[in-house]
Assembly symmetry: C2
Homo-oligomer: 224 residues x 2
DNA sequence: TGAAGAAGTGAACAACTATTCAGACTGAAT
DNA sequence: ATTCAGTCTGAATAGTTGTTCACTTCTTCA
């Protein structure tokens, strides 16, 4: 007797899998990684705890996949913003602004993905996430250098430093607490973007122009 | 009958307390915060597990005190270096370099103090540690601004961003792995210092000069 | 020296959650 | 309708460590 999964079943299985991931993401967005516990996630996804293990071999896998997913979304947003910019320097500014806006709009999630203590080992996917985003940034810096807009430099190290600066300034424990106010938020985004651009060697005056330019299209996102 | 602690006993108690803290520090330096577990620390300190609890009410307290101690040491090193500099910009450069050299010379410890996941809540002391160091940096930036060497800016946010940049670039998961080589190490320190100075608005050319100046006295520390 | 209080010991305990698994349920094939 | 592989369930299990506490050892002082 052959048992074959019917199309309907296949769809249901896929839906369930993504429901579990989704539940994990919601939990993380609401309460950080600490809130991503098997039992609560299972409840949110309307399944039993044991069922989670039919879709993910372990909590570490579940969280890793969550990190990968969020990171992929962010990376594509960065690319989109940068590619839409008129030149390499603008592209870099757009990339930085996008990162800033993104982490701010989902602070708990961003913190969880990046750095929040988790009881299982997710260093590999965190590393990959950082590597992807830092790599993208490095490419943009490199393009600006090749265009003669920036001095030659260790672009990988610079990209990593910029990421660290953005994260620490915007979602780290010392991040300003008044970022609910959209105006303060925009100021913070502009400030860190300016800082980042200058860090890689953009002249102050030119950097200020780029910041304004980059913030304009990103403003919509801030509201979202 | 009154029992009064004799001087000798007081001394022994104090010695034991610091032996426990020391053991915790060694463990953290060797294996990160994950290695700071009560039983192993007790063994290192030549006491029983229960004894640790006669000196520290909980693991959280122990680690908090460890963080405070390390942070205090670092802060005083930063102050010393900055105060010895000839002017506000040099002082800022010296402060940044000192932080860089410090975190690099004790990478595991630095990572543990700053950001490594711990199973107990140490957010308060981590926050204090960051606040102190970021505050010191902010003061130095502010001094340079007041001296007219830097454009006006949100110094607190800038200081936080710089800290994040230094940490991520030097001890984060994407930090270069070849930093055993003293030359590479010095290059990394110079690169991030340059980046940091430019970020707050020091002109490229002047920044390069300050970096060289600041790295010279710090070189000795790199060896240590 | 002996009594009493302080300090130290380490095996047992507790709490927390990820993970398992024996049995219940679903739905595909005959 | 019946069978059975596949799927789901959720209570029980397991592993990990911080913490406790009854007991031993040490120190002070009459």
């Amino acid at each position: 007797m052959v048992y074959r999964r019917t199309h309907q079943v296949v769809k249901r299985l896929a839906a369930r899998r993504s429901a579990i991931l989704s539940a994990a993401r919601d939990a993380a967005a609401a309460g950080g990684m600490a809130a991503v516990q098997i039992a609560p996630v299972a409840v949110r996804a309307n399944v039993a705890a044991g069922t989670v293990y039919r879709y993910f071999p372990s909590k570490a896998e579940l969280i890793s996949e969550l990190i990968t997913e969020v990171s992929r979304d962010e990376l594509s947003a960065i690319r989109r913003a940068a590619d839409a910019a008129p030149g390499p320097s603008s592209a870099l500014a757009a990339a930085v602004t996008t990162i800033a806006v993104h982490v701010l709009s989902q602070r708990k999630l961003a913190w969880g993905i990046l750095a929040e203590p988790v009881d299982v080992d997710v260093t590999a996917s965190r590393l990959a996430s950082r590597r992807d985003i830092s790599g993208e940034l490095a490419m943009r810096i490199d393009a600006a250098v090749r265009a003669g807009h920036l001095p030659a430099q260790d672009t990988a190290l610079a990209a990593t430093a910029l990421l660290g600066a953005l994260h620490e300034a915007l979602v780290g424990p010392l991040a300003p607490s008044n970022l609910e106010d959209p105006i303060k938020l925009r100021d913070a985004v502009q400030t860190v973007t300016l800082l980042a651009l200058r860090a890689v060697g953009v002249m102050d005056a030119r950097a200020r122009g780029l910041v304004v330019q980059a913030t304009t299209p990103a403003k919509a996102l801030v509201g979202a």
